[in-house]
Amino acid sequence: MSARKGFFTDTSVCIGCKACEVACKEWNQVPPDPRGLTGNSYDNSGELGANRWRHVAFIEQKLSVGVEEAAPESLVEEAARQGLVADGLDQHEDADGFRWLMSSDVCKHCTEAGCLDACPTGALFRTEFGTVVVQPDICNGCGYCVVSCPFGVIDQRQGDGRVWKCTMCYDRLKDEMEPACAQACPTDSIQFGDLDELRERAARRVELLHQRGRGEARLYGDSEDDGVGGFGAFFLLLDEPETYRLPPDPVVPTRRSPEVWAAALGAAATLVGGVAASFLRGRR
């Protein structure tokens, strides 16, 4: 077992080029799934699924910066007068209160993976790199992993019936290469490496952004205390997770299993008791 590998996706430097989506599709021979124009900014690929293992989200935000009323002529001048530019308004490219968030989403390769726990065939397994991978020759298409993923990542492929998701380029990792998306990323928004090292790097990065006045920068999935025991692929975000279609407090279903089974067995016992009671009544 080698050191656990992971992704650190720093969305503050994502430029929305979608090279990761393309590289992933090319390398992994993921089938196309055209859906036409969505009207949702530059996002015409929807979300992660059986045929999309990297997905770039585009979020256009018109934000109130509190100077709109005071600035009848020029928002830029008013913002400069109030010193808002150095305070973080510089991220809004034209200083007009507009900002564009871009983020490349991927399977989180959870420490406690709901898909892996749910899989009844053993098709999903934990690799020597600490990643979670589906073996297509064993998957029987039961679909249980699909409802067990708190992130809505894994999905069934139409016409095939089996499920597919990011493998963190398991084949490339075995040859000591980095995953295709990380290699293709031109800004190092997607960083690949040993998870421990990535977490240290991310902590430094978020601290730097805070020093520069980007107080909204936060890490997502870097802590082992969360509901999935920490992500193998974690993120630096500039807004709440749900803005990016990410759950704010994901919990692996398996953590509820003791309650689930206690209730199921309690109900089974009640069923036996109820049936027996109906016979006692019948005898009277």
Binding site: T38, G46, E47, G49, A57, L63, V65, D87, G88, D117, A118, P120, T121, G122, A123, I138, C139, N140, G141, G143, Y144, V147, S148, C149, P150, F151, G152, V153, D155, Q211, G213, G215, E216, D239, E240, E242, T243, R245, P247, P248, D249, P253, S257, V260, A263, L265, G266, A267, A268, T270, L271, V272, G274, V275, A276, S278, F279, R281, G282, R283
Partner: protein, 315 residues
Amino acid sequence: MSPKAERSMVPRERPTSYYGRPIVKRPVWKPEIPLYFFFGGLAGGSATLAAAATFAGRPRLARRAWAGAFVGVTVSPVLLIRDLGQPRRFLYMLRVVKVTSPMSLGAWLLAANGGATTLAAGLNLLLPRRRGGLPEVGAALVGAPLATYTAALITNSAIPAWSEARLEMPFVFASSAAASAAGAAMLTVPSAEAEPARALGIAAVAVEEVASRVMLKRLGPLAKAYEEGEPGKIDRAARALSAAGALALAIGGRAGRRHGASEADRTRRAISATGGALLLAGACCKRWAVFKAGFASAEDPAQTVDLQRARMAGR
């Protein structure tokens, strides 16, 4: 963090979503799956009822209930295999026993119940004077959890309206399974021997209604997934069918008391059989409603986000 950086540039109102897109995936299961929940419940409930009837010395009720259980365990794997698409894919399910996967445990439970029920049903049909033994006990012991594990299967998931109902759903499924078993018995057993099934059916409908109400109350805002739209319509139909069935069983209550089949008795007998059929229809609709509620819940990102935000606020 510098004091300057703490000034939020982003107005925090209610949680946002990404173009209203769902966060968790909707189930990929076909209609075979809720039908399986129904037939699995019928199998498990009938095996329990049949075992009790065998031990209580009610051979006619026992034989019909065993037949119902056998039909249930025979139809169940057919439905599962149809959902998977290719028959041999079902065998992959038997590669491993996985305690973290309710589906894996359920597959083994179904296999065990299939064996025990087939044996017990065969013995009861061949030996009318049989008073029960190990096969009957075994079939009942794996039959009852067969009826409730399907609730564990869906509540052990990331779908908010399913997962948050984890404590109550097995009781809804158990009572629905009892109503199915009782309904099948009332439909097929025209004698006084079926009286315990009548009592069971009426009680099961009452318990199901109470368990459902408790479940919806405790779900809070997530209950919307069960109450509105298509799932809501199906759930109302399920409750109406079950209530009508229970009423019919109560009215037909005296039908089997005397043999002799007067005109009035035949009428009451017909009412009881109709009640049994209504119970079966109600139980089937109930599973269908619960199934569809999972889709509604998955498709609404607010269900996922609001639940998690409330949890975070509570910490």
